[in-house]
């Protein structure tokens, strides 16, 4: 089912808008024997990246577009995601529903997802159906029908999706309002799924324009991971995507967040049972930082707080003081714009939100005041090293990483630096970034304040539940 990735706190993502220039010849870009990744660029600017992997006779194909929630402006929020839904509504050659039907009949699974900085379409299928997937994806990259009747029905589906994922989920709604308050002019302020009013007033012409603007080979990356030969993928990519005309891709405005001059607070009062706290500090990401050491140090720091059951949050807040029933940290390095380092928590029964917040702040202060021990650092690093092996169990995840890094403009090679960069982080660097970024004036705090879930009998039967009141 069209999925919609709501990297809630991990708000993030990424990247870069580059106006692709033509390259005269199809050229191999890179080959790294170590990871078995090979890439090339078609003449029309489309990138093709292949990771051969013989673990099973299957493959995953993903087509990534540089467009998503952070590309949108006010009034059309959610349009990238609605367009993602419409991508299943057919072309002249492949009428509505046919795409899914063909893939299913060949034993494939397919879906798509939209995030802040990208939109991607994928198929998982046995390795003899690569050509089928590429031909279908190439067709809908430039030939989507975008019929008005289909749109009018589909946007209702998306509104149901919004009700399901956000309006009727108190914690999701709290995150949405948290983001909307944390940022002033950074586009991560807006929900990926869009504001309901924007969905209500969206027009098919808006979608046609959005599609024409962003769906072009020079704004896309094909990633294939599985039991395939890179050469064969390149040849088929050239055959099907090669003839597609590139488009002039607009340069995104930077929209760099203005300086924050003091703590911000927002309350969300909706029917709920359990209070919920979200806190976030403004932080850079790999794309925006002047010093990538900071970013990897923040990443390691998030592991100290929340990496496993031996981490500080579990040790001190869930077990030790038992102030939190659960608590986690979130940070993603691979975004297009500056992001947030977030902490979210459910209080233990009877614990006030003030006490919960104070206990979390005390954990932050401890990082600023004292160096973490070598044991702690070693434990986070051991987990990172092991995870880098474990994650290879999933081809899909491998493809995701390649796609994200490429689409946010970092280049897939960046993923291979991760383990070494984390291993190089020192206790002093952790302390330094804790002091540099975890500053009260750059903090936003959102609080879910549960209201009764009793249904009040009203004559109209019209529910207003789910409405949030942001201060």
């Amino acid at each position: 089912m069209r999925i919609f990735i709501s990297l809630i706190v991990l708000a993030t993502l990424v990247i870069g808008l580059i106006l692709f220039v033509f390259i005269a010849e199809d050229q191999p870009l890179d080959e790294l024997a170590e990871t078995g990744i090979q890439s090339m660029e078609l003449k029309n600017g489309m990138k093709v990246i292949v990771q051969e992997n013989r673990r099973a006779p299957v493959l995953v194909t993903q087509v990534w577009y540089k467009v998503g929630g952070s590309y949108e402006h006010d009034g059309i929020t959610g349009i990238s995601h609605v367009l993602e839904h419409m991508m299943f509504k057919g072309t002249e050659d492949t009428p509505a529903g046919k795409f899914s039907e063909i893939i299913a009949a060949h034993g494939g699974k397919e879906n798509a997802f939209t995030s802040k900085d990208y939109t991607a379409y994928f198929q998982r299928i046995s390795n003899d159906h690569l050509e089928l997937c590429l031909s279908l994806e190439a067709d809908r990259m430039r030939n989507l029908l975008l019929g008005e009747d289909d749109f009018l029905k589909e946007v209702e589906v998306v509104k149901e999706e919004r009700r399901l994922r956000t309006d009727d989920k108190p914690t999701a709604l709290t995150y949405e309002r948290f983001n909307a308050v944390a940022f002033v002019n950074n586009p991560y302020r807006k929900p990926i799924i869009g504001w309901m009013e924007d969905l209500d007033t969206m027009k098919i012409d808006d979608l046609r324009e959005w599609y024409q603007t962003w769906y072009a080979p020079n704004n896309a990356t094909l990633v294939v991971v599985g039991d395939v030969k890179a050469k064969q993928v390149f040849a088929l990519a050239k055959e099907y995507f090669g003839p597609l005309k590139p488009a002039e891709i607009p340069q995104l405005k930077p929209r760099k967040e203005v300086q924050q001059h003091g703590i911000k607070r927002v309350q969300v009062k909706v029917p709920a049972k359990v209070p919920f706290l979200v806190m976030g500090y403004k932080v850079p990401v790999l794309n925006t930082t002047e010093n990538s050491d900071d970013v990897y140090a923040l990443e390691l720091l998030s592991g100290l707080l929340d990496g496993g059951n031996s981490s500080r949050f579990s040790k001190n807040l869930v077990r030790g003081s038992q102030i939190a029933s659960s608590v986690g940290a979130g940070y993603s390095l691979y975004a297009l714009h500056d992001s947030l380092f977030t902490i979210s928590a459910l209080p233990s029964n009877g614990i006030s939100m003030d006490d919960l917040e104070a206990a979390i702040i005390a954990q932050i202060t401890a990082l600023q005041d004292e160096l973490p021990t070598e044991d702690e650092l070693a434990r986070v690093k051991a987990q990172v090293v092991a995870s880098s092996v474990f994650e290879q169990d999933s081809s899909f995840y491998q493809a995701m990483k390649i796609g994200i890094m490429e689409t946010v403009g970092l280049g897939w090679q960046t993923k291979d630096e991760y383990v070494d960069r984390i291993n190089a982080v020192t206790a002093e660097q952790v302390q330094r970034v804790a002091r540099k970024y975890f500053v009260e004036d750059h903090l936003t705090v959102a609080e879910l304040i549960p209201q009764s879930t009793e249904v009040k009998l009203s004559t109209s039967g019209n529910m207003n539940a789910g409405e949030a009141h942001a201060n």
């Binding site: 999925i3 990735i5 013989r54 099973a56 006779p57 299957v58 509505a96 529903g97 039907e101 299913a104 009949a105 060949h106 034993g107 699974k109 995030s115 299928i125 046995s126 003899d128 009018l152 029905k153 589906v157 998306v158 149901e160 999706e161 009700r163 399901l164 309006d167 009727d168 989920k169 108190p170 029917p271 049972k273 359990v274 990496g307 496993g308 059951n309 031996s310 869930v318 029933s325 659960s326 993603s332 459910l346 233990s348 044991d375 434990r379 051991a382 987990q383 092991a386 092996v389 169990d393 999933s394 081809s395 995701m400 549960p450 879930t453 009793e454 249904v455 529910m463 539940a465 789910g466």
Partner: protein, 437 residues
């Protein structure tokens, strides 16, 4: 980053399957330990890692009068063992990068670990797992804390219309059967569980004869056997629990409406379905596929989402369990569309039970199920899940090898007959949570 599908998980769902022309089933090795625990093992040397999981018939269906007891017992295993506290145990696993995992569902309760196969790392991980499983201390402080956390989780379920609906559905479908109660406990049960209950539950159910072990990864058979011996050393043989009672048919249709201040109504319709080792397993699995089990190609999605835009997520499935797990259809829709959507669910089911899939639907479903079989075996974690299912539910060891044949054998008359015999459209439970009911 997580991709979220909106489906609720009740034990193992019908597997999404696949298959190709090549039967690339993994080679399964099996043996039984001295204490009587069955072991299934697949050697896979492509990555230097191994997954080990020990599954017990010690989950929610064994809660008795105290829903939540099984889950709390399972959750407390790693909160103190062999004299080490939760912090020390977590540090043991995490200092070697190992990932400890545990859960307790309705049928299965398990503990397990994923570790690198570097000998020193692996030994640390396996020894710690053995401590957690065989020598838990159940410290009082941990018991009180985890019980309090379960109460918070219970409150959180009360703010989720889908959780409320699912709970009401199980209660109505299963009435007096052990599957009726929520595995996370109730207000009442969480007030009454004691530490003695936990210890007694552990001693009765966490025994070798009630366990199966599955292993997938880059170790040889000898190493795997040694790991199993280490893990089980000191665990009493004990005895298997009594079989669960069979699930009775519903005596009458029932509709449960629960007011809730959500914008959408959450609707569940269903009844007792099938067992994991049901004689009609393949027929019913294939039968459900074109109806509501195949996503975009299914009738329910076509009628309710594609044609009318009434819901984002609509599906049906059989959730096969030790005894008859539920057959259920579910969707969520804006409150004022509740009646329309519910009528459609019912009329689609009526039509389908009366006539079954047409020829094309059946062919497409069979080719999807068989064609996608390799996808369900393309990682260690997926293979591990299959092994656990095969061992826990006593399925034939050639289950994977014969899977495609069994699917292909199903024809339209089989399906029509199975639907007629197994779906009783006059005796369904309907749950509506929201304000549209």
């Amino acid at each position: 980053m997580r991709i979220k599908h909106c489906i609720l998980s009740v034990c193992f769902m019908l597997m999404p399957v696949v298959a190709g022309h090549v039967h690339a089933s993994p080679e399964i090795q099996s043996w039984t330990t001295q204490q009587g625990a069955k072991v299934l093992f697949v050697e896979n040397n492509m990555l230097p890692m191994v997954d080990v999981r020990i599954v017990f018939d010690a989950a929610g269906s064994r809660d008795g009068a105290l829903p939540g007891l099984a889950m709390l017992t399972n959750g407390l295993l790693a909160e103190g063992a062999a004299g080490k506290d939760a912090q020390q145990l977590a540090e043991s696993f995490e200092s070697v990068g190992a990932q400890f995992g545990n859960d307790s569902l309705r049928d299965m309760a398990y503990v397990g670990v994923r570790t690198l196969t570097d000998e020193q790392y692996m030994n640390t991980a396996i020894n710690t797992l053995a401590d957690v499983l065989v020598r838990p201390d159940f410290p009082r402080g941990a018991f009180e804390r985890e019980l309090a956390r379960m109460k918070v989780a219970l409150e959180a379920r009360k703010q989720s219309p889908s959780d409320i609906a699912e709970e009401a559905f199980f209660k109505a479908v299963y009435a007096e059967h052990p599957y009726a109660m929520p595995v996370g406990g109730t207000d009442e049960s969480l007030e009454n569980i004691t530490l003695q209950d936990i210890e007694a539950f552990y001693q009765q159910y966490y025994v070798a004869s009630n366990a199966i072990t599955v292993i997938v990864g880059a170790v040889d058979r000898k190493t795997a056997a040694r790991m199993v011996d280490t893990i089980f050393d000191g665990l009493p043989a004990g005895s298997k629990p009594e079989p669960l009672p069979p699930v009775p048919d519903l005596a009458q249709a029932e509709t449960v409406k629960i007011d809730f201040p959500s914008k959408q109504s959450h609707i569940y319709v269903g009844q007792p379905g099938m067992k994991r080792n049901d004689e009609d397993f393949f027929k019913l699995y294939v039968a459900n596929h074109p109806f509501g089990g195949s996503g975009f190609s299914s009738r329910l999605v076509e009628t309710i989402r594609e044609e009318r835009g009434l819901a984002y997520s609509v599906s049906s499935y059989f959730s096969p369990m030790r005894e008859r797990g539920p057959f259920m259809m579910s969707l969520q829709t804006r409150a004022d569309q509740t009646d329309e959507a519910l009528q459609l669910l019912r009329s689609e089911l009526d039509k389908y039970v009366a006539s079954g899939p047409d020829k094309d639907e059946l062919e497409d479903s069979i080719s999807n199920i068989t064609g996608s079989f390799p996808l369900s075996l393309d990682s260690n974690s997926k293979i591990l899940g299959f092994l656990a299912m095969i061992a826990f539910y006593d399925l034939p060891e050639d289950f994977l090898e014969t899977y495609i044949d069994n699917i292909q054998k199903v024809d339209r008359s089989d399906i029509r007959e199975a639907l007629r015999n197994r779906i009783d459209i006059d005796h369904t439970v309907t749950v509506i949570v929201g304000n549209g009911g």
